[in-house]
Subunit: 358 residues, 4 copies
């Protein structure tokens, strides 16, 4: 890529926004030129706007420090500056939708973390084909060049790719019971109070089980008549727990096949050989391989596996027969990279590769 | 009880032994008069034998401090001193079995934590009837007054009582998929290295899933011809995880009924009204009620619920429909009280109440 | 005490308020009859007002559940109901001061946690004599029966009693350098975000070092002309750290004596024999002994020692020579009991015993 | 460096050995060609010898997996293969000394972590001149080409460089009182039991305070007559605590100057501009800058600062006046990188740069 594509981050001072900036620093295709946040940050240099609230382990990358933050609600400020806008704004869901649609209307490719959108959830390795509804989206909404895509909920990432790899190999799965052990960073900042997490587990995360059960159907859905028809063939039951882990969601999965069942060796082979469009297109953020299978009997673990593939790979282990269903396994992914900003950046790369953004 | 029953603890210096001593301090029926451990502790006062290795939050109870510790392998030392021996010896499983059988042969009622025994696992609220095989056990082994009973694995306690209450109410369950989040104290001392648990989850506990799947059948089994015939009607699949919690095991359960299904209200009613022989006999360690159902959507949690009923109650919450099976719920118990020493003491109380120990 | 003294808690729905209620349940002298909080809670039963925000390990005590919460700013509601008001209101410091003074003006004995007050900080074992300025306080403020006393900052409790015991024994200390390792509950609820505490230490607590250095002088001060003259003879330098502990503050202290120096044996003897007016008056919350010295080389520790003396004792250990000053030691106390609600209740008991409250 | 220097690691299967291998992977100067461990590992491929005991976050680097592990006690096996041996053997101290001396006698440059050695402790930025006693060491011991250098205890690294920078700038310090909050990895593997660290602090680390007080004098010592004369001008008193942190030791320091005192600005300037021989020689592992001063009021923290300078930099913050001494500050370093294997590798680089290893 000779010349970098200019991008913006709205909601740039929050924790998700910071993750975007961290991951976009030195990105081979994208150059962050526009930062916006709430009115109270507007007019300040980024380093001042975020002072005392920078939560990343690495320092604020040099290139952002002196960018003057704009008011995110003032869409005009972004016009002419960038083509893609990563949205990490924190407002009530309706306000986010309205703002993001305004950006799309004004011609921006908006990549959003907002779960309120009805549009498709994108996991580039799985439903890259869903991006093909963008022309229809533009037509319906009357957008000329703008578009809006949404990343799915982080909790499902530990198993969606492993499940999809099996489906793609021709097997059918009709049920999964899954328990997740989710990191505190999944709740944003500040997230759970430390007094609630030290020496404790909270076996409840508001709205998470519902999303874990519903979103997979949308992601696996097919396009008909310009919209995504959910595929509900896998019934999912999710138990979501919050544990004392900083980053890295674990999913303990029991799955049942419909029809023929692969052997364990076959499953591991399918996972290890899995590759998809992002890998074929050599997208910069696409992990190679996307799925890592670990032989050790006590893996994956958050500390040792969350950073695999620069935080973009899914690590799977402990494949073994299930006494009730067919197989059990453990999946893990990095919830603030693969499950959040990193996943969105991969989607943006796919938008570029598919020609939806110039 | 006018006069207390004299009891001994072998393996008294280890962590399980310490738990026994803590719980037996001021017990209304039992008086600890005999402490034994490895040869290296023999001849020392208990306070000196355990120096630097006492892991309980409360101090060593006064009454044990000056008891001179005996060599546990020298069974003669216990003869004439006590009738019940709680065994928490830490050796290889075969050696434990041999030693405990020797104590039984010499006339002691041995209550053991050793998973190697083939005999029944006792959960007093469930299979109190299993104690009726003791006459047969004595006959087969040629023991006159001795006997040997074993407490089951701690991981299953969070769901066995809730499941049993439903069975007792006339419902049949044919499948359960369960994920446990288990406390580090369940691994004994020292248990997991802190570097492996800080900011981490270990999705594997050696042998735990197998025990979680097999022991329930034995506990629910019926007696025929003087021995326990396992009841394998509930197929169980367990995923066992170690988490950064000191005490308190959580189980996330999805269950399927065979035949008629109770309503959620009915299930909660069954749990809340559940009572069993230990409660009817008013055994000192029997929790009243044995099952606590919490309405709050984020309970049970280890910190807030493990000490319910002095650590002997099972706390259940989050009963809700399951997308795949019929219902989901979360169970919790205190693994070193209900799941270990406390459960064994309750069994010993039942042995006394049933007249097996004088 | 034949008839219990009626008391109220304002700010009853917050975490400190909850701690008051937990500790006052079944108090032998006090009966909670009045609960007040913000307008949004007013008119609701306590159990409803606090729903989803009850953070104690034990359940809401039965006796409070149906008390209708009043608006704390409406002082008239309390008049005629109770004589003592424990204040745990959470507003800005000026507003708290104004409200508490209004309660005092209306005749209540107000026991406050608000660090904004200029009046004395009370540690009943140390400066019980400071309560003798109450007549002067009443005169200056024009209060007839009301009064206002304040509990000191929690961080200092781990060393104030040990230091005072040495002063009372006739020794003089002129310098202390102390590092504290403080529990997250000291920051109130929600306190630190769990992402900031997991696998981490925060070597800074806003305002804590200043309080740790200034308050001791007030507590050790003498009364002259109806007011407390600070005693600044001990220069204190404090380093305050937040660590991943739920409850229990540790202080690592190096102290220098002025003039003669006691031997280590002498110091331990002074601590072990220390007793003060609350103990002599047998106040219900006075720990006996107030200072516990542990011989084990690795004590005190939060988990094992915070609950000593029902959370009201100070545990000290590791007394040893200091290479730079004279001695080093480690002190520990339970910050939400001794260091907060429990300390205030002890002060209220002393007010009763001294006849300031009828 | 055209051709890499061949090195070996003895004790290669333990945790410190693993850290060496991790840090030496792709080292620009060194190539690991020799791995040795206990007899039970001898003859196995490294990947098999370390199976189930690899504790690093990253996988075993490819280049080591198939190296056949030798018996470390068989020094002949190393002869002719490598010139430098990093020693991380875990035996009793005397046995380690004997073995390491045997390697030195046979001509190897031995870089050791063993605190039992009487020889100098090397912090390359401070006492690089101490290496000049190597000719004397060789002469005394009768070693021709071999030599033996030792890395100092990890606890002191958080403050030694900041103190030394001030001394080098011409100031004199005569006293420091320091409290450390040390990570569990500092205790090796397995280190503290998780039950002792969850929701807890252990205010004691065996031998650590003594080392923290004694080693600085050796490091700051001068060479006279071919040996290091300790410089005890700084009296140090250390309080060492173990906290629930994986990696990264914090030190809270109060220091007193003798003679003239620098201003705070001056101190920060000295730290920021500090550079030493390893930086001048551009040694591959030398951090640039070696000392990082953070302005944020709540830094340094283990999670955010331990990896600064690839884990080799010392991060300092919170410089402020001390009420008792002159200044207070907080220092932090990565105890298993700078404080262990990384520090030793830097020393080895200095040995090469100074011509002691060919």
């Amino acid at each position: 890529m000779e010349k970098k594509i200019k991008v913006g981050v709205i909601g740039a001072t929050g924790m998700v926004g910071q993750n975007y900036l961290r991951l976009l620093s030195y990105h081979p295709w994208f150059e962050v030129v526009f930062l916006a946040a709430s009115p109270s940050s507007a007019g300040k240099k980024y380093i001042d706007a975020v002072a005392g609230r920078w939560h990343m382990s690495e320092d604020i990358p040099e290139e952002y420090r002196n960018i003057v933050v704009e008011d995110a609600s003032n869409v005009s400020k972004a016009v002419g500056k960038c083509g893609i806008v990563f949205s990490a704004v924190e407002m009530d869901k309706k306000a986010i939708m309205a703002l993001e649609e305004e950006y799309a209307r004004r011609g921006f490719a908006v990549v959003s973390n907002n779960s309120a959108h009805r549009s498709t959830d994108d996991v580039p390795e799985i439903n890259h084909g869903h991006l093909d509804i963008i022309p229809q989206q533009r037509k319906q909404r009357g957008w000329k060049e703008g578009l809006l895509v949404v990343k799915p909920n982080c909790s499902i990432q530990s198993y969606m790719l492993p499940l999809y790899a099996l489906l793609k190999a021709g097997y059918r799965i009709d049920a999964m019971i899954v328990s997740t052990l989710q990191a505190v960073s999944g709740a944003g900042y500040p997230g759970p109070a430390s007094i609630d997490i030290i020496d404790n587990v909270v076996p409840y995360i508001g709205g998470e089980e519902e999303k874990s059960e519903v979103e997979p159907a949308r992601i696996l859905g097919i396009i008909e008549g310009g919209r995504v028809i959910p595929d509900s063939s896998i019934k999912i039951s999710a138990h979501c727990n919050r544990v004392a882990v900083s980053d890295g969601h674990i999913a303990c999965c029991s799955i049942r096949f419909a029809g023929k069942k692969p052997s364990a060796e076959e499953i591991i082979g399918i996972w290890r050989n899995f590759s998809s469009l992002p890998q074929e297109l050599k997208l910069p953020s696409a992990p190679v391989p996307p799925i890592i299978y670990r032989q050790e009997m006590d893996r994956p673990q958050p500390r040792t596996d969350r950073d695999a593939g620069n935080g973009m790979a899914i690590t799977v282990g402990r494949l073994r027969p299930c006494n009730v269903f067919d197989y059990r396994f453990v999946g893990l992914h990095h919830n603030t990279v693969r499950g959040a900003a990193g996943g969105s950046i991969l989607t943006a790369e796919l938008l570029v590769a598919k020609g939806f953004v110039k």
